[in-house]
């Protein structure tokens, strides 16, 4: 796969390349000190860049085409995966994947939005944009999980619900609304993880739960920075400002009380080390699942409703 380099990743990469070059010469020249100096500089540069990411830079990391997707996590985290297809009404939406799986001692239902790696896959996965049958497929699997008393984990990674003609005809709005209502009442624990993009209703349609987590470099808001820019600034040029104004990063959402936890990513972002990212997420998910092992559904259901009930800010 061709490497995809973001603008702010370039200076790091240049410095890393230089270190690599010098290491090749190390046998003939006495440049060990210079190399370790340069390596120290790489660490410093990374720290200064990744400790001060702008919100727009995080959006770019969230969309990085080499970022792990749902299927990658399933492959790296689970011992077993029984994929289940279709909504039993219209078809099988490829933008969402779901099924039973095992994560060490936990047997769960995992449902995740799925993007493609290349053009062909992206056409197949509809760029991670679900149609109504996708939301209905997700709901069917969630109800199955409820029947079999298995916790639900959902992975969110979508640039939005698909804004197509047939999607409207088949009731995109109704499908999302139904999920919001039903998910608020499912009698099994629901853990939601934003693993990439959490764009608006298309994300929330699988995003109601007891615990809401975001990976460190992801975004979650009511609109993408680009669309917000085009509506409020009447130009596509203000996406950076829009991202800042929307306060859409994981630390923002934690501060707003909308999410419960941030999952750290490897330095430089999840795409830098898939295995490490999956290991971190697996550990976190096991901690989260452990919270509910003997939990009383009545109690966490009441908490779930209250949690969403108090979201908002108004003056009386």
């Amino acid at each position: 796969m061709a490497k995809y380099i973001l603008d702010f990743e370039k200076p790091i990469l240049e410095l890393e390349n230089k270190v690599a070059e010098m290491k090749k010469l190390e046998d003939n020249l006495d440049i060990r000190d210079e190399i370790s100096n340069l390596e120290e500089k790489v660490i410093q540069l990374k720290k200064s860049i990744y400790d001060n990411l702008t919100r727009w830079q995080r959006v770019q990391l969230a969309r990085h085409p080499e970022r792990p997707y749902t299927l990658d996590y399933i492959f790296m985290m689970t011992d077993d995966f029984v994929e289940l297809h279709g909504d039993r009404q219209f078809g099988d939406d490829k933008a969402v994947i779901g099924g039973f799986c095992t994560i060490d001692e936990h047997k769960i239902m995992l449902i995740g939005q799925q993007k493609g790696r290349d053009t062909k896959q992206n056409v197949y996965r509809n760029f991670g944009m679900m149609n109504p049958e996708g939301y209905r497929k997700a709901l069917r699997l969630m109800k199955l999980a409820e029947k079999y008393n298995k916790p639900i984990v959902t992975f969110i990674d979508t640039p939005g619900a698909y804004p197509g003609l047939e999607a409207e005809q088949r009731g995109q709005a109704e499908a999302i609304a139904r999920n919001l209502m039903e998910m608020s009442r499912l009698k099994v624990p629901i853990i939601v993880v934003i693993i990439g993009e959490g764009d608006s209703g298309g994300a929330l349609g699988m995003g109601v739960g007891d615990r809401i987590l975001m990976l460190q470099n992801t975004w979650y808001s009511v609109i993408s920075p680009e669309s917000c820019s085009s509506i409020l600034w009447r130009s596509w040029e203000y996406k950076e400002q829009a991202a800042e104004a929307l306060k859409l990063s994981a630390p923002d959402l934690l501060e707003q009380g909308i999410i419960d936890r941030i999952v750290p990513e490897p330095l430089g972002g999840a795409h830098k080390d898939h295995k490490l990212m999956a290991a971190i997420l697996k550990t976190v998910l096991k901690e989260e699942l452990a919270l509910f092992v003997k939990a009383d559904p009545k109690k966490f259901l009441e908490k779930r409703i209250k949690k969403f009930g108090k979201m908002g800010m108004f003056i009386e």
Partner: protein, 279 residues
């Protein structure tokens, strides 16, 4: 859908006279008919010639639906906070304040309790003229309280939607209003409280994808734009023109998402009739 009883006139001559300035004329956006504003109100803000439904707000719907003098508004003073300290080309707080001044409304929804043909109803209505009927924290909270009131008093719930979607300037807070209101409606269902959702022009975005589409009975006004994505976005996505009547009330009924379409003049009678079966 057949309705056998003719609807009653439900605004008294007394109330018709109030607040109607003389000598004002409006032009129908559909057929161009010039209509006196008094005549328009008598006709419940629909065109006397072509039945075009003019866009009206909470004040008008309260007068259309509720028995004279029975509606009590609650939470009238609730106004938007500014959770993100949001600024685009202007500050969100300034936008709110100037809209409040221009419209005389405190936000994009009004809620209260009143009587429809003698029956108590918990009611919420959106106002499109307040920042495009956008749903932020205030709308979400008022809708939630309208739902809670219906549950508490065991009376039916009616919500009239008119909205361009979520309130961008409240970021994720506005998004969460969808989950907040839908979760409350789940509770309403468990308590078997009837909920009638009325869709008016336009009902799109997050409003449609939450409480608007969750009615036991969904009634639409004729030819209202109803959808999730806006027509412009869809046109951009698919790269061709949209078919005639796409995302209009009739299209939704045809596709199974609206129970029936009601002319505004019949709305009250038809709601009352549904409530006869629901209670």
């Amino acid at each position: 859908m057949a309705w056998f009883k003719r609807s009653k006139q439900n605004i008294s001559a007394e109330s018709r006279k109030r607040e109607i300035p003389d000598g004002q004329w409006v032009k129908c956006a559909e057929c161009g008919e010039i209509i006196h504003i008094k005549q328009l109100e008598l006709n419940m803000w629909t065109c006397i010639k072509c039945d075009f439904h003019f866009r009206v707000g909470s004040r008008e719907y309260i007068s259309i639906l509720f028995d004279e003098g029975t509606f009590n508004e609650f939470d009238a003073g609730m106004k938007s906070g500014d959770p993100l300290e949001f600024t685009d080309t202007k500050k969100y707080t300034n936008r709110i304040n100037s809209t409040m001044r221009d419209t005389g409304l405190s936000d994009a929804a009004v809620r209260g309790i009143g009587k429809i043909e003698g029956r108590d109803v918990s009611f919420a209505c959106m106002d499109f003229k307040f920042i495009g009927g956008s749903m932020g924290s205030v709308v979400g909270e008022k809708i939630s309280r309208a739902i809670d009131a219906a549950i508490e008093k065991k009376i039916p719930l009616i919500i009239i939607s008119s909205s361009g979607g979520a309130r961008m300037m409240e970021g994720a807070f506005s998004l969460m209003q969808m989950a907040k209101t839908s979760a409350r409606l789940a509770k309403l269902n468990e308590e078997k409280i009837p909920y009638i959702s009325i869709l008016t022009d336009p009902t799109t975005g997050g409003t449609t994808a939450s409480y608007a589409m969750l009615g036991d009975i969904i009634i639409a006004e004729p030819k209202a734009l109803i959808g999730f994505a806006g027509p412009r976005v869809i046109k951009q996505t698919i790269g061709r023109d949209l078919p005639e009547g796409f995302q209009r009330s009739e299209f939704l009924q045809e596709n199974g998402f609206v129970d029936f379409i009601a002319h505004r003049k019949n709305l009250k009678a038809q709601i009352a009739k549904v409530l006869d079966y629901a209670l």
